[in-house]
């Protein structure tokens, strides 16, 4: 079934074509058909993915690499690129949850977008296009195809954020997302160019992962550092880290399924995926890894601080996403690639659930407001309250997700977050400072998430007249919530660490890809066939010698650190207890502030109004960017427009026309209308001719 991997991206592409070209007509005939096509295509993709995944699991761990080449894409001199897909643990793991959660969100969108007349089909076109791009990104076997998917998801993000483009603010938010992502894409592209030429100097003209990673030791460390930093800038844009995270909170202007899918579970994790995929390259440059870890940690705590005081339910979740992505990068930066990916997985579950849950809340509030003709903001938490009894399914699933994100033991978030914090502390590239920042951010996370839950679901309803009209969402929306709640609760058991008696299946599954194994998967082990095994053994030997010098240093230390415990087991338990204690402390403070003594938050805001305003206004980062970057650019663009394009280019072109006009208006006086003056010209001409011949003859 491996050879049919191309079906996985092609099914959503077919959905795009059908709904895109015929969607308006289909919607006029039957709205149901639109979502049957879209969801059906994703379901088919998911089925194929599941089959391939199960077949992958049947292979022994050191042979889990299979590449399928579909067709040749660019042939230009030394650049030979193919559209080809790679089946290995990392890509299949990503594919499983991306397509699975994508499918659930397609189902959810049926209920959420049902009342959008005339635009229903467009939403599903964009969703399917997004899935197509994301699948290409994940399954690609070379950087160029991954970049195609990278750009494609950025495009779909723009289209979907600005879906309700009649409201100009949404269009502006979409534009902001796209342009900010573009800055990152530029850095990514330059990084790819450097990688290509850097390897090319040694004769390896390829951007295929297996080729690159088996020859990456040819690069000098400064080259590798440069490339990694450029790649990381691309990630800061796509995965919303400092300094290019600014588009993500604004992206909440899009419909909630979009926020759930793109800005929580899938697109924003593509940066994390890219770094995990390039772990061999990153391992070559401790400096770049340090930058990744530091930026990740700073972002985690920075975004958490902003989320503490926001009043819009989606904004809190947006900053929470930025913060959790910071965690993932922290994990990657200290060398715990598998831990970072594990957090990607658990985060996808509970964050998608949180967003979908908030969407259900907003949906209910919107309907209630609609009934009483009220125009208050359905997303403002200060208008909510008491929804616990009115929307029970939403409440219980939301609570499960909140417990997960806060890192309460037993739920998925605990295992992944704790592993990252432990690695941040104990890994040779980590330090206790990074751990401390992460732990404090975890406490803040617990606080603001429970603040959200208490303000939304507890106490009495603050919506006034609309209160009686609030009711549960339709099953098409609550169904996915339940499925995700189950996953958010039990998903963590895939990665129970050794310290707690588990075997960390997740970590073992991803080992061969992360360079910690015997490097067999780093080579182009084409088929797991008879000759393939011998080929792989030879290749592995070669890889070990070649790669050992660089990767094994960092990886070996890490392996030791993880397996044997550079720091003692006691330390690990202690840190676990500390982080749980911090989370419980955060929840306790939230309980006091928002249930027991509700006058405290307002009083604190009064006393520390400077800090409160600073946090509420997102540390004025957007205003800073406007001042320092955007306004000068706009001024420069204005100058280029008025000064150069209109002033110089248009002036020259118009000037030519003006000269012709001026010349002709000077010459036209010759046409006087008097026959006799024409006769003069004839005589004059004759005289000139005669004179010429006369003088020539002389």
């Amino acid at each position: 079934m491996f050879d049919y991997i191309w079906l996985v991206p092609v099914f959503p592409a077919i959905g795009v074509l059908i709904n895109g070209l015929l969607g308006r007509r289909i919607e006029a005939v039957s709205k149901h058909l639109v979502h049957w096509v879209a969801c059906g295509m994703i379901a088919l993709s998911f089925i194929v993915t599941c089959v391939i995944f199960s077949q992958l699991l049947q292979l022994p761990p050191d042979q889990r690499l299979y590449q399928v080449t579909c067709f040749s894409w660019i042939h230009s001199g030394v650049l030979q690129t193919y559209v080809a897909y790679q089946i290995d643990p990392l890509s299949m793991m990503m594919a499983m949850f991306v397509i699975g959660i994508g499918f659930l969100i397609h189902i959810y969108s049926i209920g959420y977008m049902w009342e959008d007349e005339g635009r229903y089909y467009r939403f599903f076109v964009y969703l399917n296009l997004f899935m197509f791009s994301m699948i290409n990104l994940i399954l690609a076997n070379n950087y160029l195809l991954m970049f195609l998917g990278w750009e494609g998801v950025g495009l779909c993000s723009y289209l979907l954020i600005g879906f309700w483009f009649d409201d100009e603010a949404n269009a502006i938010a979409g534009k902001k997302a796209f342009i900010t992502n573009r800055v990152g894409d530029f850095a990514f592209l330059i990084g790819m160019f450097l990688l290509f030429t850097g390897l090319g100097e040694h004769g390896v003209w390829s951007l295929q992962f297996s080729e690159v990673f088996s020859h990456v030791h040819y690069l000098s460390q400064s080259q590798a550092t440069m490339i990694c930093l450029l790649f990381f800038i691309g990630c800061t844009a796509k995965s919303a880290q400092i300094p290019l995270y600014v588009w993500l909170p604004d992206a909440m202007a899009g419909p909630t399924p979009v926020s759930a899918l793109i800005h929580a579970a899938t697109m924003v994790t593509s940066g994390v995926y890219m770094i995990s995929r390039s772990n061999v390259l990153f391992s070559m440059s401790p400096f770049a890894m340090g930058v990744v870890a530091t930026v990740g940690a700073m972002t985690a705590i920075f975004a958490a601080s902003i989320g503490l005081v926001q009043n819009d339910i989606k904004k809190v979740l947006a900053y929470s996403t930025v913060s959790q992505l910071g965690y993932m990068f922290l994990g990657l930066g200290v060398g715990a690639f598998a831990a970072g990916m594990f957090h990607v997985l658990t985060h996808a579950f509970f964050k998608a659930l949180l967003f979908l849950g908030s969407g259900a809340v907003i949906h209910s509030m919107h309907h209630a407001y609609h009934k009483v003709h009220c125009h208050d903001d359905p997303q403002d938490m200060r208008n909510m309250g008491g929804l616990k009894d009115k929307t029970p399914i939403t409440f219980w699933t939301f609570l499960i997700a909140t417990l997960a994100i806060s890192g309460i033991p037993g739920f998925s978030g605990f295992f992944s977050k704790d592993e990252i914090l432990w690695q941040a502390f104990s890994s040779p590239q980590g330090s206790w400072i990074l751990w401390l920042i992460g732990a404090v951010a975890a406490g803040m996370t617990a606080f603001y998430m429970f603040r959200l839950v208490f303000m939304t679901f507890f106490n009495e309803c603050r919506a006034g007249e609309a209160c009686e009209h609030i009711h549960e969402s339709p099953p098409s929306m609550t169904g996915p919530l339940c499925v995700l709640a189950f996953l958010a609760a039990v998903g963590g058991y895939l990665g129970v660490p050794h310290a707690l008696g588990g075997s960390n299946l997740f970590h073992q599954f991803l080992d061969p890809v992360m360079g910690l194994g015997d490097g067999k998967l780093l080579h182009d082990a084409t088929q797991a066939a008879a000759h393939g095994a011998q080929h792989a053994a030879e290749a592995a030997g070669h890889a070990m010698h070649a790669v050992a010098g660089h990767v094994a240093e960092g990886a070996g230390h890490l392996a030791e650190g993880v397996e044997h415990g550079e720091h003692s087991l006691f330390m690990e338990y202690l840190l676990m207890v500390v982080s749980v204690a911090l989370a419980c402390f955060g929840i306790l403070i939230a309980y006091i502030f928002y249930i027991k003594k509700r006058e405290i938050p307002a009083a604190l805001a009064e006393r520390y109004s400077f800090v409160h305003r600073l946090l509420l206004n997102k540390w004025y980062v957007d205003e800073l960017y406007e001042l320092v970057i955007i306004a000068p650019l706009r001024g420069f663009a204005y100058f280029l427009w008025k000064g150069v394009d209109v002033g110089v280019v248009d002036y020259i072109v118009n000037g030519v026309a003006r000269i012709v006009g001026w010349g002709s208006s000077a010459v036209r006086y010759i046409q006087s209308g008097y026959v006799q003056s024409y006769a003069v010209s004839v005589v004059f001409g004759t005289v000139v001719l005669l004179a010429y011949y006369f003088l020539k003859a002389l």
């Binding site: 006086y669 046409q671 006087s672 006799q676 006769a679 005589v683």
Partner: protein, 101 residues
Amino acid sequence: MIDNQSVYLAISAVLFVIGAAGAICRRNAIVVFMCIEIMLAGVSIAFVTFSRANQSLDGIFMVLFIMAVAAAEAAVGLAIFVLMYRKHGSIDLDKFNLMKW
């Protein structure tokens, strides 16, 4: 020594110039027409002179043609002048500048 041929050619040139000057400077259309005839006469003399000098009859035939053309031209030209007078009440050439820019 100024021989006969030169004198004849000089007369021809003088006649031509007088005709040209008149055609350019006179206001009355009929006088302009007469000046054109003077030009033609001057040219005829030149033709006859050269015909005599080359001892061939080509020049004489040319003059015959000139006569015919002059007659036809006179007829057409005078017809145009009659129409002009009917339209404008005058055949003063300074008054006909409708085709100016």
